[in-house]
């Protein structure tokens, strides 16, 4: 039971993060009532993908699907995608969300405490917990997610049952941005691939429970948002979730949402640290990653490198740069690409194991790849985003190729 709760909380970490709440709010603002349909479709697509990548019938099991991708596509491709997506998301999303938590703490709770100092404290705390004990990190994960769920459910109950509303009439609204909601929906549910499950079949159950929980919260939060805030205000705001929370019950709603933001940021950062560490340590055991980095105390050196990198990013002011959002968007796209290729690899493997084509798996992998391409080339800052994705993939590819060709001969690398 403990492992299932941890798996569910890992899967929910991104879905209930501040970034997802912002994306949900903007989607509601763009699409109105259509958002409910978008959520349903995105949830189903994600559930199908989860059922494929965590299928107990796969001949190759693993945390990130790297070995599976290596078998079904190419070893270098699999390792490249895993490195590029995991490391870039861990660095950029953690930096961005911890800074968000710092602002929430400074503006909602203690105005005189510097926001970046709080963000740094959170980073040091999460890193320290992960270094000291994996058990502590797991407990922190479950506690943070529980706080987020409690906070969101409290606001929802008050908003739907007790509040009077004040937003405009929700309408069947289409966005000026073609397909925005349809594809944006899939970003809300990524995170189901963060499950660290060693037991066959448990990943599917945990992913389904997490998706169902997230879908329920998203669904009712979308309805509450439309009830309490004008759609134009939601789509134009950078903090739509705070606007809705304040409208539901001020000032308590604002404070509850502040706690949700801080706990959500901690949960997401902790989950990314845990899964990246476990994934790379697992790859080190398989000889696909430097042994000295991955094996010592199960990747603790890697944790320290990640934390110091995030610290450096915060201290050099990256959080105050517009380009962080472009890089973050790029890293999420790489995450989506990773899931798409993993789904494709799993579909190929299952098709061979079962003797019949897993059509739904192939369809979903193509859909997710289409979403990746759409958002890569649509919107602002296309050039910067494409350059980021290309350079990140290229760097990961070079490392993977070098490691495979040179280091596996044990003649050059230690």
């Amino acid at each position: 039971m403990r492992v299932s709760l941890l798996s569910i909380s890992l899967a929910l970490s991104w879905m209930l993060s501040p970034e997802s709440l912002i994306l949900l709010g903007k989607t509601v603002g763009e699409h109105g009532t259509i958002t409910l349909v978008v959520l349903g479709i995105a949830g189903v697509v994600s559930a199908i993908c989860a059922s494929v990548i965590y299928s107990p019938h796969l001949s190759v099991q693993g945390h990130s699907g790297t070995l599976l991708m290596g078998q079904e596509v190419h070893a270098v491709v699999g390792l490249s995608l895993t490195l590029a997506s995991r490391v870039s998301v861990t660095l950029l999303a953690s930096c961005a969300m911890l800074v968000t938590a710092g602002f929430a703490f400074n503006e909602i709770f203690v105005y005189w405490f510097p926001n970046f100092a709080f963000a740094t404290l959170l980073l040091v705390g999460i890193t320290g917990v992960n270094i000291v004990s994996r058990g502590w990190a797991q407990n922190l994960q479950m506690v943070c997610v529980a706080i987020v769920i409690l906070g969101m459910v409290s606001l929802l109950l008050f908003g739907l049952l007790a509040g009077e509303g004040g937003g405009s009439e929700s309408v069947w609204q289409s966005s000026d941005v073609p397909f925005f909601g349809a594809f944006a929906g899939v970003f809300l549910f990524v995170g189901y691939d963060l499950i660290l499950s060693d037991k066959k079949g448990q990943g599917v159950v945990s992913a389904f429970i997490a998706l169902l929980l997230a879908l329920g919260i998203y669904f009712f939060w979308a309805i509450t948002s439309m009830k309490y805030a004008p759609l134009a205000q939601l789509s134009g705001s950078t903090i739509p979730h705070l606007i809705v929370a304040k409208s539901i019950v001020a000032p308590m709603g604002r404070m509850v949402m502040g706690v949700v933001i801080i706990a959500g940021a901690c949960a997401a950062a902790n989950a990314l640290f845990m899964t990246t560490r476990e994934t790379l340590a697992h790859l080190a055991e398989e000889g696909l990653f430097p042994e000295w980095l991955g094996k010592y105390r199960r990747g603790v050196l890697l944790l320290i490198v990640l934390a110091m990198s995030i610290c450096l990013m915060m201290f050099t002011g990256l959080a105050g740069e517009e380009v962080l959002e472009v890089y973050l968007h790029g890293s999420l796209l790489l995450w989506l690409l990773h899931i798409s290729v993993r789904c494709y690899s799993a579909s190929r493997n299952l098709s061979r194991e079962k003797g019949s084509r897993v059509v739904h798996g192939f369809f979903v992998s193509i859909l997710l790849f289409g979403a990746f391409l759409y958002f890569l080339f649509w919107g602002q800052s296309v050039q910067v985003r494409v350059e980021f994705c290309f350079l990140t993939l290229a760097a990961a590819f070079c490392f993977a190729l070098f490691w495979r060709v040179c280091c596996q001969k044990k003649s050059i690398c230690l």
Partner: protein
């Protein structure tokens, strides 16, 4: 001795920046509030990235301006206008 000298040099440069910055007058919110809405006062929100997007507090009527485009907006206002820069 070398370590002490290094420390003194670092201290000099870090405090030097503060000395230069002290020449820019600061305004408290109590001073600004009565001036809001005045034609001769323009509040420029020069926060960028998450400093702006994740902050709840946006001053009503403030104009967003980026330091990277200073050459464009720097000459857009008359010399009699008071520019109040809101930063993080």
């Amino acid at each position: 001795m070398k370590k002490l000298l290094f420390f003194v040099i670092v201290l000099f440069f870090t405090s030097g920046a503060t000395v230069f910055a002290a020449n820019v007058p600061l305004m408290e919110k109590e001073e600004l509030q009565p001036l809001l809405g005045s034609k001769d006062v323009v509040v420029l929100d020069v926060r960028t990235g998450r400093d702006w997007s994740q902050s709840e507090f946006k001053i009503k009527g403030a104009v967003r301006a980026s330091y990277s485009t200073f050459n464009e907006w720097g000459n857009a206002y008359s010399k009699d206008t008071t520019l109040v820069l809101y930063c993080s």
